[in-house]
Amino acid sequence: MTLDILAYAAFFLSMALTYAIICLGLNVQWGMTGLFNVGIAAFVAVGAYTSALLTTPPSPDRFGGFDLPIFVGWLGAAITSGLLSWAVGALTIRLRSDYLAIATFGIAVTVQLCMLNLQPITGGAFGIGFIPRPFAGLQENALLFSLANFGVMALVVLALYLGLEHLAKSPWGRVLRAIREDEMAAQALGKRPIRFRLQAFSLGGAIMGLAGAAQAHFIGFIAPDNYMPILTFQVWAMLIVGGSGNNRGAIAGAVLVWGLWALSAAAVSSFVPAEQQARAASLQIVAIGVGLCLMLLWRPRGLFGEVSPLTRLKSLRRAPSKE
């Protein structure tokens, strides 16, 4: 019994950590750089599908299945999503800040369409199954299998965390911060803000793609339904709750919000009669939306946030005013 609970806890935490990876990617874009991405689901999906195509065994009814090692799949996922982010960013970062938001929203809609309609590649509405899972040899032993997977996720999160912390303190991170604090000054120093922003946006997108791949291999099955707009909302809620600009907050927010989400979903399915469950689920989403707004209104620094990009953006906005 306790072993079951332990296995479940490992499973739950692994899932939460996949969200933590997405959240870290978003933090590079929003927390470090102030770029708003409304198409998170698309970048995660592109990563998941890329890795699935690269690592699944060849399949007669669709393109690919290249049977490559999982590691290659993850790398390919990060590269593809990174390239997609780069393309979106290159097009919109030089324009008004909300044009990027609109373009990422468009990407989300379009990627959703592609997943559904490019059947020969994506498997259409049914998606792709039989994605190789890490430590498949251990599957006989549920506990060991869960723990091993959890270990991999924890390692990935830890490595990303250390890497991003290091990056924030590196010259690159300092330039990024300088641009965010005072774009004019950074420009005067010969730094090209657009290039740095674009790099940060691509890096964030690549991390989201990696997260998509990690999630796909963890679950073993992907379909367009996994990448609905609600995923984007959930990740935003995680980052806002955790406090943007803060990598530890991003991880903590992911675990906390995923926990609340899973808990309330479990409550809905056990206490609400079956015919009312769809309705109850929509109330759950109303709660996320309202919660996001309330956090923005009352605690814009997040529960664990140390630094707020809001005040920084504010000072940036006011920089040109005279006297």
């Binding site: 324009l95 909300d98 929203f105 369409l113 309202v290 996001l292 923005l296």
Partner: protein
């Protein structure tokens, strides 16, 4: 190629155009892209549905179709009430949410984010109240009339085109010929100067919300009458609305309407040429093309 796509495109374009006029107004006066604008379309449609239902139970005569249309007097009456209610909804969301950010001088992107949260909450609230099962204003079937040139349209569809034309001309005259219209353009150009020129900026903001919501409600009802009412109708139209507002040039009412028609026609053409499943990608392609070639749009001001 079947010329009928022109009629289909014009009707879809009329709906997109009306919604885009609202987007372009809120964008130019409140200075952020409102991701919750689509939900005003959905709420408008459901509010009209609810009011029409209530009117129908009061008097069965109101549901009897007015020849040659498919609906009874209950719908136009409900539409008028729903326009007011949708306007109030927009004002309530502004009072509860966006006005606080304005007072604090928050960054634009925080408002965008809040609108994103608001859209999620509003849409899911509709799903909670009405479920995601499609609903209909009328069950009556209409036969399309031949218009010549290979075009066909139902009386309902022709009425929609007429209502759109009247709405857009009204908004255009309001913007160019009236005090409040001039005040709206002044605030859109320079809110600080507007205030010291004697304009009550808060009143202009309230008017903008109400006007945008009223147009959204009309568009939502038309979309519901044309196909069906679902909680997602607004969300599914959001990308075309943004694309039309940007293609038309932010702040331009005629631009938004024209761009809406262009996008509607392109969608209809794509449905014939490529297939209905790719319809939603059309506005994305147009959006990307505009951002690449002419980010200020057809009638936008250079910035």
């Amino acid at each position: 190629m079947n010329p009928q796509f022109i009629m289909d495109g014009l009707i879809a374009g009329a709906i997109i155009g009306l919604g885009a006029v609202g987007v372009t107004l809120t964008y130019s006066i409140l200075r952020f892209s409102n991701f919750a604008h689509g939900e005003l379309l959905s709420w408008g449609a459901y509010l009209a549905l609810a009011v029409a239902g209530a009117l129908g139970t009061l008097s069965a005569g109101l549901t009897k179709p007015i020849a040659p249309f498919s609906f009874g007097w209950a719908l136009p009456l409900a539409a008028v009430i729903a326009i007011g209610l949708t306007g109030l909804l927009a004002l309530a969301v502004d009072a509860l949410l966006f006005s606080s950010f304005r007072r604090r001088g928050s960054a634009i992107i925080i408002m965008v984010m809040a609108s994103f949260g608001a859209s999620l909450a509003l849409r899911s609230l509709l799903e909670f109240l009405f479920t995601s099962r499609p609903a209909y204003f009328t069950k009556a079937l209409q036969i399309a009339m031949k218009l010549g040139g290979g075009l066909r349209a139902t009386p309902d569809q022709l009425l929609m085109l007429g209502v759109t034309l009247v709405s857009v001309v009204t908004v255009h005259l309001l913007m160019t010929r009236t005090d409040i219209g001039r005040a709206m353009r002044a605030v859109s150009e320079n809110p600080a100067l507007a205030s010291i020129a004697g304009i009550d900026v808060r009143r202009v903001i309230r008017t903008t919300w109400f006007l945008g919501a009223a147009l959204a409600c009309v568009a939502g009802i038309m979309s519901g009458l044309l196909i069906q009412i679902r909680p997602y109708i607004g969300h599914d139209l959001l990308l075309p609305l943004f694309a039309a507002a940007i293609l038309g040039g932010i702040g331009s009412v005629p631009g938004a309407m024209l761009a809406g028609l262009i996008i509607g026609l392109c969608e209809a053409l794509a449905v014939q040429a490529v297939g209905a499943e790719w319809r939603a990608a059309v506005s994305f392609v147009i959006l990307i093309a505009v951002l690449l070639v002419r980010p200020r749009g057809l009638f936008g001001k250079a910035s």
